[in-house]
Amino acid sequence: MGDLLQIIVAKYNYWIYITLMMIGLYAMIGKNNLVKKIVGMSIFQTAIILFYVSIGVKKGATIPILEHGHGEHGHSAAALIVHAVDYVNPLPHVLMLTAIVVGVATLGVALALAIKVHNRFNTLEEDEILAQIREK
């Protein structure tokens, strides 16, 4: 039991993201309301963003913006010696900027579709919509 606890504590970031992801995935499959599914989708995407950002974390490092004096940026700044250990990994941040944007875009389109469905069927409960389709 102690071992397990130690593993969980050392890698708690993965546990958090997987829990969130499971919540999102469950909402997307199990929920009946179309907007709740969209909410689940957002949770799911956010969980992945958390996962990626947590990859970039480095103990004892700071944000990936180099220190620089005012007059010397450009070429002379190249002379500054930069140690990689002092700065966190910038790549996951870049990737997640992309993923956030994609998430927002998908959310927008999903809401637009949900509004269109609501205009047509006057409800967002999936079983009621299916019943209406079957009636025809």
Partner: protein, 498 residues
């Protein structure tokens, strides 16, 4: 300029999609010519690129001038180049053929539709050409978003079925992204070739296994592989004709390409076929996919929906072929990407011609169609023969490779499934053709005998010519199969697969 082909084939459609959405507010009539010109340039670059690859081998294009693992690079080998040509040519022909149908089905919204169409093609081409695992995800989302928008423009039920597609598509893309994240955490790289170089010592790691499975499931969701196919039939059936005849032939095939790319380049055949012993169950899944696709298609009384279930079965062909683990099977799968794209395009263009004149494609609406639209139905017969697999058409040859591959690796169930599906296709298509031969029954009954010769009402020439180009293409590709296999596909498969 030929140095820049890999960039041009993406940039020209992207810029013109933006241009179209601007001109849409100024002069709507300019949109169509711009779209055609852009896709023509793109197709020209793709063909030029294929010829260069055949001459020189793999072409590396560094975007932004940065060396591969740091920046993003294209690796264009025989596999990408072939699929690029298929995507760009199919998109171009379909765009020319569906101008009238777009104007009929979406009055007032043609300009954004053309823009989305070209964006979709950009996304598909980008997915195929890229050599970076994360870049592939971004382009996948462009393809997906533009696809949702186009599919939702169909009939009353289209928004609902598209919304369901959106949920599944997002789960698929997110799974792929997670898989890439798992690879990144153990390798530290996003470049496909770089990952493949770093991976070998990590083959035993559970993280790599999980990454592979999660990527694979994501791609399967997107390609509608059997147990995960539920979104496809409704989304494609209720879509506007122009959208379904672009998306149905291309999106599933591009996803098959992504799967083959993952197997061949990122994870390498040694890992997928030797270290992971999962080919057997996956081939069995493919067998089930083929059987279920065929049986579900038999139950349908609607031409377009029947075709969508055939797509589900065809996906089973390609997944099974790729996972047979031998050269013949892989050749069959890659060849079938080409053939199936053309066959599906031909069948769906027929459906869009029918929808243009008939406003319905349930079997009851199709009676007497041979008299009414003889040319369209002529092309339909060619498509049907190819889907069944009758020799001069291309469908026969890829099926031949798949069956020989199945025999070579002893997967007799897969062989039986392929034969069964061909048999079912015979039944399916001859049933449709039979219905189309008969006169409308109700007319005899209702109007007496003075109404026996229904006038011919063929689709416009601008829709028929592209259709016949595709039908001719089916036969031409069939005749030149050996050239395609010997000069292109032979080099696309690594030597380690025997």
């Amino acid at each position: 300029m030929s140095q820049q082909y890999p960039a041009l084939l993406i940039i020209v459609p992207l810029l013109s999609a933006l241009l179209i959405s601007i001109t849409g507010w100024i002069n709507k009539r300019l949109c169509f010519p711009i779209a055609v010109a852009a896709l023509a340039v793109s197709a020209y670059s793709c063909i030029g690129l294929l010829l260069r690859v055949v001459d020189e081998g793999v072409i590396v294009y560094r975007l932004g001038g940065w060396d591969p693992p740091m920046g993003i690079a294209y690796y264009v080998d025989h596999l990408n180049a072939l699929v690029l040509v298929v995507v760009s040519v199919v998109a171009l022909i379909n765009l020319i053929g569906s101008k009238k149908s777009i104007e009929l089905e979406m009055p007032g919204k043609t300009a954004p539709f053309y823009a989305l169409y070209v964006l979709q093609v950009t996304g598909l081409l980008g997915v195929v050409v890229t050599g970076d695992a994360f870049n592939l995800y971004v382009l996948l989302e462009i393809t997906a978003l533009s696809g949702y928008a186009m599919l939702a423009m169909g009939d009353d039920r289209a928004p609902l079925s598209t919304l369901n597609y959106l949920y599944i598509g997002t789960i698929g893309a997110c799974f792929y992204l997670l898989g890439v994240g798992y690879l990144y955490i153990v390798t530290g790289s996003l470049n496909m070739v770089d990952i493949a170089n770093i991976l070998p010592p990590l083959y035993e790691s559970k993280a790599v296994l999980a990454a592979f499975i999660i990527c694979l499931v994501g791609v399967w969701l997107k390609m509608a592989f059997f147990p995960l196919h539920a979104w496809l039939p409704n989304a494609y059936t209720h879509a506007p004709s122009a959208a379904s005849s672009l998306i149905a032939p291309l999106v599933t095939k591009v996803m098959i390409y992504v799967m083959i790319r993952l197997i061949l380049t990122v994870f390498t055949p040694e890992f997928t076929f030797n270290i992971l012993a999962i080919s057997e169950p996956i081939v069995w899944l493919a067998v089930v996919a083929i059987f279920m696709g065929a049986i579900l298609a038999l139950a349908e009384r609607n031409l377009k929906k029947m075709l969508t279930y055939i797509i589900v079965a065809e996906v089973g062909y390609m997944v099974g072929g790729a996972w047979l683990g031998n050269r013949l099977g892989m050749t069959g799968a890659i060849l079938h990407i080409v053939n199936d794209a053309l066959m599906t395009l031909c069948a769906f263009m027929v459906v869009s011609n029918v929808a243009y004149k008939l406003k319905g494609y349930a079997f009851d609406d199709l009676k007497g169609l041979f008299r009414k639209m003889p040319f369209t139905m002529g092309a339909f017969v060619v498509a049907a023969l190819s889907m069944i697999g009758v020799p001069p058409t291309c469908g026969f040859f890829s099926k031949w490779y798949l069956i020989s591959g199945a025999i070579q690796s002893g997967q007799y169930a897969f062989m039986v499934a392929l034969l069964f599906s061909s048999l079912v296709n015979v039944v399916l298509f001859f049933r449709v053709i039979e219905i189309c031969f008969y006169e409308p029954f109700s007319d005899h009954h209702g109007h007496g005998h003075d109404h026996h010769a229904e006038p011919m009402a063929e689709a416009p020439v601008s829709m028929l010519v592209p259709l016949y180009v595709v039908a001719g293409g089916l036969i031409l590709v069939g005749i030149y199969t050996s050239d395609i296999v010997n000069y292109v596909i032979e080099f696309a498969i690594p030597k380690s697969i025997l």
